[in-house]
């Protein structure tokens, strides 16, 4: 008796929640949950790559009249939660979506750590989890444990491998020598990439002439850039995060670190990067990339800017949107809100997205992903990938002007 009352209370709360969210659309709306950081350490990145795409996707689907579910057009309704970049909050929010809001589907959260924290909950409730911003080298183990989890953005080995590949190509073309200065931000992401890159560079015949790390939140990166410059490298590679990606680039300009290959990792593909450095960004290499010249991406980018008022970045944004497209196509193809069926459909099919075709290997991993891009005249083109089409040839950077 008491238990039933408790449930009733819970249901009422959920209803109140939904109403208060101000998103109560038509009655037959499909409820889609979205959890990500609006505050906290990763809020800056999520504000560029994640949230605008949630908005854009909901807009696109509803503009078309909604999701076609067995012939019936049903609009989508997004229920958003801020996880404050705190895995405990992510877990709670996903659980709230699953049990209180009774969301039909839940979009994967933002960032590796938060995706992994949420994975057991997605798994328990059988939600398909098409991740878009999780980078992991443990995909085999994770996909065995969480069979509904899909990976699109790749792993550290691929990302680092891409950089080695690009530098090798440039060396073979006589554009650079074989001396590499490498730095990394000392957190899980930077450490993992540096660990993978070290032997890969050695194997490709590169000499690492400078190799160091710096803590997240370092306010003055000039000693690092000075140290790198003193080693007189031919290429500079930084496994960096947003604030330091900007900081390292600016210091490199100031120190006159005129390498022919200059690479910074996360956030290099952000529009704010080109916005800040303008023409100086030309030739800068960075993590990710897209087939920027493809019609599908250009059309997407235009729509993104029109609907959200901001430009997408040239890496994760497109992948975030693509992951939503995958979910959307699978739901429409299955023609119902049956999570299990949708999950199964995702596993068995390829999908056409703004990033091109996405298909899975035996580990639910999109094995073909972009690894390196390069800025050129305000566009960040993919120059290396693990098998995607549309890559252009990398060019040597010619100074900071």
């Amino acid at each position: 008796m008491d238990r039933r009352r408790l449930f009733k209370l819970a249901a009422t709360t959920a209803l109140a929640t939904t109403l208060a969210a101000g998103a109560a659309l038509a009655q037959e709306a499909v409820k889609i949950g979205a959890v990500g950081p609006k505050t906290g350490g990763l809020a800056g990145g999520a504000a560029v790559s994640f949230w605008p795409n949630v908005q854009l996707w909901a807009h696109d689907v509803n503009a078309r009249g909604g999701l076609n579910i067995g012939g019936e057009m049903r609009p989508v309704e997004i229920i958003e939660y801020d996880d404050q970049t705190n895995p405990g909050e992510t877990i709670k929010a996903v659980q709230r979506l699953a049990t209180q809001d009774e969301a039909d589907f839940i979009l994967a959260p933002y960032s590796t750590g938060l995706n992994l924290a949420a994975a057991p909950i997605f798994d328990r409730f059988g939600y398909p989890m098409v991740t878009h911003t999780a980078i992991s080298d443990q995909i085999v183990e994770l996909s065995q444990r969480f069979p509904n989890m899909y990976f699109t953005l790749g792993g550290a080995t691929g990302l680092a491998g891409g950089v080695v590949e690009v530098l090798t190509k440039m060396r073979d073309a006589g554009q650079i020598g074989n001396k590499v200065a490498m730095v990394n931000v000392a957190d899980a992401f930077g450490i993992e990439l540096a660990e993978v890159a070290r032997p890969a560079f050695a194997e490709a015949g590169f000499e690492i002439v400078y190799d160091t790390s710096y803590p997240l939140g370092t306010q003055d990166l000039s000693p690092i850039v000075k140290g790198a410059a003193a080693a007189e490298p031919d290429a500079f590679v930084a496994w960096s995060y947003p604030p330091d990606t900007f900081g390292l680039t600016e210091q490199a300009m100031i120190e006159g670190l005129d390498v022919k290959a200059f690479y910074t990792a996360v956030a290099t593909s952000f529009p704010a990067y080109a916005g800040r450095f303008g023409a100086a960004a030309n030739g800068v290499l960075g993590a990710g990339g897209v087939a920027a010249t493809s019609a599908s991406f250009q059309e997407y980018a235009a729509r993104h800017e029109q609907v959200t008022g901001a430009k997408p970045d040239f890496w994760a944004s497109g992948m975030v949107y693509s992951s939503f497209q995958i979910l959307e196509q699978a739901i429409e193809a299955v023609g119902s809100l049956d999570k299990e069926a949708v999950s199964a459909y995702i596993a068995e099919n390829d999908f056409e997205t703004v990033m091109g075709t996405i298909s899975w290997d035996e580990n639910n991993n999109n094995a073909a992903y972009w690894t390196v891009g390069q800025w050129m005249d305000g566009v960040f083109n993919g120059v290396a990938s693990t098998g995607r089409e549309g890559a252009i040839e990398p060019v040597a950077k010619t100074g900071w002007e």
Binding site: R3, L6, F7, A10, A16, T17, A20, A21, K38, T39, G40, G41, E80, Y81, D82, Q84, T85, N86, P87, G88, E89, I91, K92, A93, Q95, R96, A98, T99, Q100, T112, G113, L116, A117, A119, P120, I121, R124, F125, S136, D137, Q138, E141, L142, R145, A156, N184, A186, D187, A188, F189, G190, I191, E192, A194, E195, S213, P215, L216
Partner: protein, 310 residues
């Protein structure tokens, strides 16, 4: 008086038993709230055990918590899980002991900042060691369920309350009350104030480390940014102060309403969560200067006086 004490104990045991039934009745959402409440109860209560009587505000919770998470993260592939919890506890207690010994000479506000700096220092050192040894992000893939974690936290809460209850009735507890009122008197009455404080500081150190170790499997993936978030220290302080540190159950009555408030706000206003939380927070500070304990006790007094007149 004696009987009262046993009644408290029995009441506590009953409440704990009731709380332990949540996983069977509550469903997974309520369970996740339960985990949050249990976690903050453990952290805030143990925090208040030390900070209540000494008035020292420690912001080191996250340092101990992070050490615990890392103990599990690093050890899970090598040692049985159950061994990791006591190891985490010992590590936390030892670190707390060292900090205590080092900070004895510091007066109140310096202690606050010291503990804050300590948390950052520990995070930096762990990060550096991780980088140095090429340790990648840590995955804690176990079969431990949310309910297991909840029960473990409840068990830990039980231990904390029992410990707090026992300390309250011991010479140490009495000494701490005296220290809290007037440290000079305490010293001149023959109390080794330094030792009492160090011993007591080890309690929240150990408890927070164990809590971190328990929660690591829930986070699956551990990195310094997530394990050592300074927000945790602040939240613990705030919940404990909201409840009131003068009573053993004080932090509990801060944690529960705060969790629900947090929940209600973040569920209803995902885009203004931070703003509204801040506003609520300010309201509480201005309207409930003595915390919920103060509120409850004045309601009690009021009820009593009504009874008196009736």
């Amino acid at each position: 008086m004696k009987r009262d004490a046993w009644q408290d104990l029995a009441l506590g045991a009953v409440l704990l038993a009731v709380a332990a039934c949540l996983p069977w009745f509550g469903g997974s959402y309520w369970l996740s709230i339960g985990v949050t409440i249990a976690m903050y109860t453990v952290l805030a209560t143990s925090w208040a055990l030390f900070s209540g009587p000494t008035h020292y505000i420690s912001l080191a919770t996250t340092a101990f918590f992070g050490i615990g998470t890392y103990t599990t993260g690093l050890g899970i592939d090598h040692l049985p899980y159950w061994v990791l919890l006591p190891i985490a506890g010992v590590l936390g207690a030892v670190l707390a002991g060292l900090v205590g010994l080092a900070t004895l000479r510091l007066s109140g506000v310096y202690f606050v900042i010291f503990t804050l700096g300590l948390a950052e220092l520990v995070r930096q050192i762990i990060t550096w060691v991780q980088n140095f040894s090429g340790q990648k992000g840590l995955y804690v893939l176990t079969d431990i369920t949310e309910a297991d974690i909840y029960w473990q936290l409840l068990g830990l809460a039980g231990i904390v309350f029992l410990g707090g209850w026992a300390i309250g009735r011991s010479r140490l507890g009495f000494a701490l009350r005296i220290i809290g009122d007037d440290e000079t008197v305490a010293r001149h009455s023959g109390i080794n104030t330094a030792r009492a404080k160090v011993i007591l500081f080890m309690v929240p150190g150990a408890v927070a480390a164990i809590a971190g170790a328990i929660l690591a499997p829930r986070y699956v993936y551990i990195e310094p940014l997530l394990a050592f978030t300074p927000m945790l220290s602040f939240q613990v302080v705030i919940m404990a102060l909201l409840g009131g540190t003068g009573r053993l159950w004080g932090p509990l009555v801060g944690v529960i309403p705060f969790t629900f408030l947090w929940e209600a706000i973040s569920a209803s206003f995902p885009n203004q969560t931070t703003l509204l939380l801040g506003l609520c927070f300010l309201l509480i500070v201005y309207l409930l200067p003595k915390g919920f304990v103060g509120l409850i006790e004045s309601v009690r007094r009021w009820a009593k006086s009504r009874e008196g007149y009736a």
